[in-house]
Symmetry: C2
Subunit: 332 residues, 2 copies
């Protein structure tokens, strides 16, 4: 069923059909009615492909994340999808993992499909900075990167002040009397490095950098458990642990519990992302809210702006907040 068929059946030209299709004014009531009837009778749906070809607009946006199974990204994907679908766009979901080659392939396919824009979520995708081939592919496409940066004119950023996020955690613990605060990094991306940096400077600012301790581990429950094991083996003195990810913090919580260490009585624990995990854990987990939802929503809006008027916007900044729960609550 094409516009021609409808035109024939309605006894008018395709132009007229196109007109009623697009709600143009200059069509008589009668013919409009006639055409609309024929359309309905035949269950006609105009081909968006053909329209895209003419208008050079696909009303489709690529949303690129590492892995939607991670709640943080599921959230951002959800928020982005809702925001963008509200603006008339479809969202193509891309799970790249932490693999530059995958990123390249997805980006290429998205560009070939002429998506109207691409949204990258997470500083993981800063990796593209060192892949000129990918940047070249992106040259003509409006791009926004949530909590990351891309050195090309077609890209804009929304940035979360993750250094500040960790500092909030340190401050909270410091005020609770903690001095031997450990920091755990469990993912390899720019924002994780920034969190670590925020920790260091926060410790310095409070004159306790001598008691600072940095640890690296794998993402997840096991990674968190391992880190506690290492701390204990080393006979390290510590009264609080800050993790760069909630799930890793959960692992810490579990291993502490298994070792008979009380939380927050003996050791306080703070996570990052304020994901649903934090509410599920017991004790519930104090966590830095990186405002992922706001970030995602703003990114989506920014992208829409970029697509409509092709000018560049300066980066937007978002401030994190600390959500205190049981795992660090001061006994009072």
């Amino acid at each position: 069923m094409t516009i021609y068929d409808i035109a024939k059946k309605a006894g008018v030209s395709i132009t007229t059909v196109s007109r009623v299709l697009n709600g143009k004014e200059d069509v008589s009531k009668k013919t409009r009615q006639k055409v609309e009837t024929v359309m309905l009778e035949n269950n006609y749906m105009p081909s968006f492909i053909a329209r895209s070809l003419v208008a050079d607009v696909t009303k489709t946006i690529g949303v690129v994340v590492m892995d939607v199974r991670i709640p943080h990204y599921a959230n951002t994907a959800y928020v982005a999808e809702q925001e963008l679908s509200g603006a008339g766009y479809h969202v193509i979901l891309c799970n790249t993992g932490n693999n530059a080659e995958n990123v390249r392939n997805y980006v290429q396919d998205l560009v070939v499909k002429r998506v109207d824009g691409i949204m990258f979520v997470s500083s993981t995708f800063n990796m593209m900075q060192e892949r000129p081939e990918i940047l070249a592919l992106l040259a003509e496409t409006p791009v926004v990167i949530a909590n990351g940066e891309l050195p090309i004119p077609s890209a804009c950023s929304v940035l979360v002040d993750d250094a500040r996020g960790t500092e909030l955690a340190v401050q909270h613990l410091f005020e609770g009397g903690h001095r031997d605060i450990v920091h755990v990094k469990s993912v390899d991306k720019e924002s994780a490095r920034i969190k670590q940096f925020g920790y260091r400077s926060a410790m310095e600012q409070r004159g306790i950098e001598g008691r600072a301790y940095l640890l690296d581990t794998d993402y997840g429950i096991k990674g968190g458990r391992d880190v506690v094991g290492r701390l204990l083996e080393d006979g390290r003195v510590f009264s609080a642990i800050i993790c760069d990810e909630d799930l890793t913090a959960i692992g810490v919580l579990k291993q502490l519990a298994d070792t008979g260490i009380q939380v927050p009585g003996d050791v306080a624990v703070v996570g990052y992302n304020n994901s649903e995990y934090a509410e599920i854990a017991s004790p519930t987990l104090t966590s830095v809210d990186g405002k992922g939802n706001d970030c995602s929503k703003l990114s989506a809006q920014l992208l829409c702006g970029l697509i409509e008027k092709r000018n560049h916007f300066p980066p937007l900044y978002i401030q994190p907040e600390l959500v205190v729960r049981e795992s660090s609550r001061t006994k009072s």
Copy 2:
């Protein structure tokens, strides 16, 4: 940069360019090289839109879920995306919520965009059975519904035996000596009703239907907490609780803990979906694995089959498994 530009710059016809584009044989080495060089130099990418118009294929599939933020759906979306992208398809993600009107709109837009197929995840979408307008929209599109059913020839199903899933839970608890087993339903969809049904028949089979007790509540931690509150207020005797969703079970776990009831010592708890939540909870949650990943993967494969050769497949069945964890472990 179009095929015409390339043709001109390479001094050949667009046909030739098209040929090298599609790797056809009948082009001399020389011209092929020449054309390829020009393409690279100009960073040419053929428009998939134009190709779609000609081939009537978009290599795009709509994946419709209620809400990707729910881990179960995040998982299925992930698995589907990976499977489908492996087969050369892009995935358009749709979050409909539990709202038929949203479903209608998404479906319409997907059809208008001429996606090659649509995958619905969850029996929630059985709601479409009562919406002939939606079914009409779907008539020409290959469709698969994971754990649900659609009465149209273009649709196929993969079904999980959720009645059996709950029965596994009952059986496990029964063997652990439990008789006063409560069932909690916290979502309103066909599979939840089937789980409830499975519970009832499992109780009957063991001759303890007289001690069966059905409860309804809201999805989530709060819903789970409420249910325990009600049970306690009513002075109901119960030694085990089966929930239709992990998150609700977590709420049950939390409220029991707050009330000083030991799990599994005093009361055993079983969830459903075997989501990551189950590992995070403490005590860790025994849960029925509905094999969501397998279901999603099979659905994706089935859909690809449907798209390639337009014949109908009979429904596939998947058997759930019980994963026993701390929340129901028999003290031994």
